[in-house]
Amino acid sequence: MTPDRRRWAGIVAAGIVLIALPFVAGNYLLSVATLILYLAYVGQAWNVMMGFAGQLSLGHSLYVGLGAYAAAGLFVHYGLGPWAGVWLAIVLCAAVGAIIGFLAFRLRISGVHLSLLTIAFAELVRIAFDHIDGLGGPGGLFLRVAARDRIDLRAFRGPPAMYYYTMLGLAAGALALCAWLLRRRAGYYWRAIREDEVAAQAVGIDTFWWKMRAVVLSAVMTSIAGVFYAFYYNSLFPEQIFSFTRSIEIILGPVVGGLGTLFGPIIGAAALVVLGDGTTEVLAKAGLDIPGVKQVVYGVVLLLVTIFLPNGIWPPLARRLGFEPRKL
């Protein structure tokens, strides 16, 4: 089989397994799978900015949080479901992303300075949300939990399988969008900017606007994950959702899986969650319930990958599986 055929066969097989999963898996397994898909999705969104366009954001929890609070605020105060809330989340995050991008790229801020700027904005917004009493402040904002056995699509309430399929749809959509973009002008321009911005500018690419597009698209995609987060977890705390640790969690999947690759964010998220939750589960079985084990595992995986697999897990794995032509 040619690598291209093999790739499609792989995607179809994985798709069938993922669609069939709720029929065979219990609720715990389904929640783990949902978490993997969630991390794969936000990872994919972050990857647009860093993996494709080479702009390192370490403050992506900002867009998750803003999206979550936008939709949850509308739901709690006006009874509007996520179908309305998601539009507010998108507009809000597009605006915030555009503002940060505009300031950063107009003033030619890049590298570590850009990362620090994104962290600073996320932290400022976190502290600001501590003081918004209408949204719960530091005490948190809670969404009414309804019966889990009926599907109420209007208010996005239902059994775990509903959330799982939603996240599966989002992750598949993000994958398709990114695959499409990479074949279009945007993908080539972004990668040109990532590899050498000055050279990209010299051949006539408007680097400012293409970087802006990457930031805004990434922010919008991440905000939708925030809306899902609000309605899946039903409780929001500024301390948690906007925290630096959350931003790091978002970047782990794509970094471990393979920066700038299409399947890296998915493989990375799966590897991390399986290893992290697996270790926690094994220890729990042995009667050891210790917080922090999961994060130590994440840290060790990240350490090993950055040292030994600088391009992530996916590129060598893809060659081994015959999805990519072998390097000559």
């Binding site: 630096f244 922090g292 060790v300 350490l303």
Partner: protein, 311 residues
């Protein structure tokens, strides 16, 4: 998972009082306390600045090294009844060794890798340190209770916590030692040569890998002293790391990445403005001011207030 900056709650400081318009002596008190704390911040940031200035490494594990030092002081106090200011000396030596080993084992092979790869390596180390601390000590806050903790020096109407004065004195002393090291010793001069021109240093036959490791050790020793000094001012939790990392970055960016004088002045500036914001606005506005300052400096003068003209 806890948030970051607001968890740095200071013990027995005026900042904990209800915000109201303070009198002039109170204000002077707050400014001086802030400056004393800022000196310790400055020492911590100095470590980050030295590591960046020489190795060009963005040390995202800086805050975790700080919490590690604070826990070292707590353990030494509870286990051996050692005063944090005594532990400080041993901790500085131990951290210098740990820093040397970390640099040799992990970071040296990353020196020529892209910036983001280095950041990710340090983030991985920070996650491991922070969560091992969580495994070892649990999520609850730890502290040391020294006999002089609630005492203060009286200078007219101004009251200064003894612990805070000692902490600042230790930080100043450590800074002086560091300055002397870089100025007068052969190793210090060689390190500065590496910072100025790594290739030239290599051509001249300097052992660059060794000097980088010494630099990271020196940076870690700064953090050890700062951590032991800070532990008598603040309770420590395993999740404190990111807030110190960010604080150190705020300070060195404000002062200018790589500039040592800048790091110290940045520390003072942030210490005072945090303390003032705590009294004049609300206690939780402390970190808002430093992050706001960071954004302004990044946008207006990314080379920092004291940095050179080069971008």
């Amino acid at each position: 998972m806890r948030g970051v900056a607001d968890v740095r709650v200071e013990k027995n400081s005026l900042a904990a009082c209800e915000p109201s318009m303070p009198t002039l002596p109170q204000l002077a008190n707050v400014i001086i306390s802030g400056a004393l704390t800022g000196t310790v911040y400055g020492l911590m940031a100095l470590g980050l600045s030295a590591i960046f200035g020489v190795i060009r490494l963005v040390n995202f594990a800086h805050g975790e090294l700080m919490t590690l030092a604070m826990y070292t002081a707590v353990v030494a106090f509870q286990g051996l009844a050692l005063d944090p200011f005594v532990t400080m000396v041993g901790a500085a030596a131990a951290f210098a060794g740990i820093g040397y080993v970390i640099q040799r084992a992990f970071i040296n092979r990353f020196v020529h890798r892209p910036e983001h790869a280095q950041m990710l390596l340090m983030i991985a180390l920070s996650m491991i340190i922070a969560n091992l601390l969580l495994l070892g000590f649990g999520p609850d806050a730890r502290n040391v209770q020294t006999s002089y903790q609630l005492d203060s020096f009286e200078l007219g109407t101004i009251l200064l916590d003894k612990a805070r004065v000692y902490a600042a004195a230790a930080a100043v002393l450590a800074t002086a030692v560091l300055a002397a090291f870089f100025r007068f010793t052969l190793t210090g001069k060689a390190i500065r040569a590496c910072a100025d021109n790594p290739l030239g240093a290599r051509v001249a036959g300097l052992p660059v890998a060794h000097l980088y490791a010494v630099t990271f050790g020196v940076g870690a020793a700064c953090v050890a002293v700062a951590g032991c000094a800070m532990v008598s001012l603040i309770d420590v939790t395993p999740t404190l790391g990111p807030s110190y990392t960010l604080l150190a970055f705020v300070i060195v960016i404000v002062g200018g990445l790589g500039s040592m004088v800048g790091a110290l002045l940045g520390g003072l500036l942030i210490g005072v403005s945090e303390a003032l914001a705590g009294v004049l606005i609300t206690p939780s506005a402390k970190s808002m001011v430093s992050f706001g300052l960071l954004i302004l400096v990044l946008l207006a003068r990314p080379q920092g207030l004291m940095g050179g003209g080069r971008r």
